[in-house]
């Protein structure tokens, strides 16, 4: 029996609700990590809003301009170990949120030509995921008494996003560009698990996110006509280090 597009959309909404159901579990993971590092247990509200206050600044940062003034930096100079990785992750997630927003804005402005609904849906859903991921990492940072990361990974932004996004002229370019960011995020999480993170809570948080970034990559590869699952093992190629500048 075939289903209509409306029914399919309803199913998607259900799935979206399901993914929001996972947030409480992430709150628990953050609480566990906080306990491991001797921090104050975060409130559910504090976890859920996470990077929410940062998103406005992030959106500005994505579109260039004077982001150093408008984005408030959590900074990493005073962080080390797992918390430095958490800050890096939050910065990368914020950058992904901002970049998808820039893509959506460009699409709305007609700068990318005809934009299929499926592509817009992908961008909005992936952006929502990255927003949740950033909130998770920032919830952990604030649990540890550290400032949340309100800005983006400036190293990646200046070296990759700004010059790369300038060359995005259509949805295919946008998909390829997004694929690069998703692969970097997944590689960074895997590198964190394999080479940097020490607390089990931190490892659990990272492994709950890395496979989702890889799902984003698989769908992008599929749409681009490329092998959707190109390797039997995820790699750390392209992983970003905690020394990346945030702001």
């Amino acid at each position: 029996m075939n289903i209509s597009e409306r029914e399919l959309l309803a199913m998607t909404r259900d799935m979206d609700e399901m993914h929001h159901d996972t947030l409480p579990r992430m709150h628990e993971a953050a609480s566990a990590w906080a306990e491991e590092i001797g921090a104050v247990r975060p409130t559910r509200r504090g976890f859920l809003i996470g990077a929410g206050a940062a998103l406005g600044a992030v959106a500005l940062a994505a579109c260039g301009g004077d982001d150093k003034k408008k984005a408030v930096s959590g900074g990493t100079s005073n962080l080390s170990g797992d918390l430095a990785v958490a800050a890096l992750a939050a910065g990368l997630e914020n950058l992904a949120v901002a970049t998808y927003q820039a893509g959506l804005d460009a699409a709305t402005a007609g700068k990318l030509g005809a934009v299929p609904g499926a592509v817009a849906t992908f961008a909005k859903t992936a952006q929502s995921h990255h927003r949740d991921h950033a909130a998770a990492w920032n919830g952990i940072l604030t649990s540890a008494g550290k400032a949340k990361v309100t800005g983006v990974d400036l190293t990646v932004k200046s070296a990759v996003v700004d010059p790369g996004f300038a060359n995005v002229k259509n949805v295919v370019d946008l998909a390829k560009f997004a694929l690069g960011l998703e692969d970097v995020a997944a590689a960074t999480y895997l590198n964190g698990i394999q080479n940097a993170l020490t607390s089990k809570g931190a490892i659990q948080t990272a492994i709950s996110i890395q496979p989702v970034e890889m799902q984003h990559s698989a769908i992008l590869n599929f749409v681009l006509g490329q092998e959707p699952v190109p390797a039997a093992f995820a790699t750390t190629q392209g992983a970003r280090p905690p020394t990346d500048k945030l702001g």
């Binding site: 075939n2 209509s4 597009e5 399919l8 959309l9 199913m11 998607t12 799935m15 979206d16 993914h19 996972t22 947030l23 579990r25 628990e28 609480s31 566990a32 306990e35 299929p116 609904g117 499926a118 592509v119 849906t121 992908f122 909005k124 859903t125 992936a126 995921h129 949740d132 998770a136 895997l190 698990i193 394999q194 089990k200 490892i203 659990q204 492994i207 709950s208 996110i209 890395q210 496979p211 989702v212 970034e213 890889m214 799902q215 990559s217 698989a218 769908i219 599929f222 749409v223 681009l224 006509g225 490329q226 092998e227 959707p228 699952v229 390797a231 039997a232 093992f233 995820a234 790699t235």
Partner: protein
Amino acid sequence: MLSEEKELGLLIERSEDTHADAMRATQASLTEVVERAEERRAAGGSDPDETEAYQANRRKLLTRGLAAAGAVGGGVFGRSLLDMLLSPAAAAGMDVQAAQTAASIENLAIAVYKQAAGLPFMKNIAAPAGPTVVAFVTTTVAQHTDHAKAFNAAATRLGGKAQTGVDKPVFDGVVTPALPTLKTPLDVVKFAAQLELVAAETYAAETAAVTDKDLRNTFASIAGVENQHRAILLAVAALLEAGKPNLIKLGPPADQLPDAAGSVGFPDAFLGTSNARPATEGAVA
């Protein structure tokens, strides 16, 4: 029983025979950890207390039951559990079982994919969906084979035994009941997606639970790949359900895709662990 089911049953039977032979082999060269594991198996399974300690740790990781863990840690029994939990031998023994279980899950996935690909209605899917699905299955089976090798290598490195059989509890509890219900390509694709979810969540749980760093790295490098398999299967299922099999091909015309196709492949922002299988269930040798 369908002939395909019989073939799958024979496959499983042969695998179990292989394991039975392996279990009779001399274990003289195994390490103390492995000897303990063998003793447990010879006694009919894992030591309940040790397993409970490990599972308690997993539950803590999986459900964040920190308050309960703290209460247990305060008593004499709790101290005993904690000591067991922290015991390198106990941890290594459980790592072995986790690796063996993972290998048996991979073996199960390989068997199910191969069997499913041979079902008549799977062989007759019209192009472009048919060749796309065949290519996906071929690649996915190869990747699961690589995963099985990696987990078996980890198991043997840690002193365990390579697994050639399937995860029998999953086979008996999930696969066997499902087989008669698989009547269409959509049924098969949805079922495969569920198996991939089980694998991904099991490996995610073990990534945070095992103590051996190399084994953790192996779990971490595979969990995401299983989740990618699931993403593609979910997308294919959605297109089948939408009556658009003509769009099941690499590089589909994006302007013809249903809007919702842009998100059905990744329904959750976080990979959970509620479908994770126990570390001990698949270790049969």
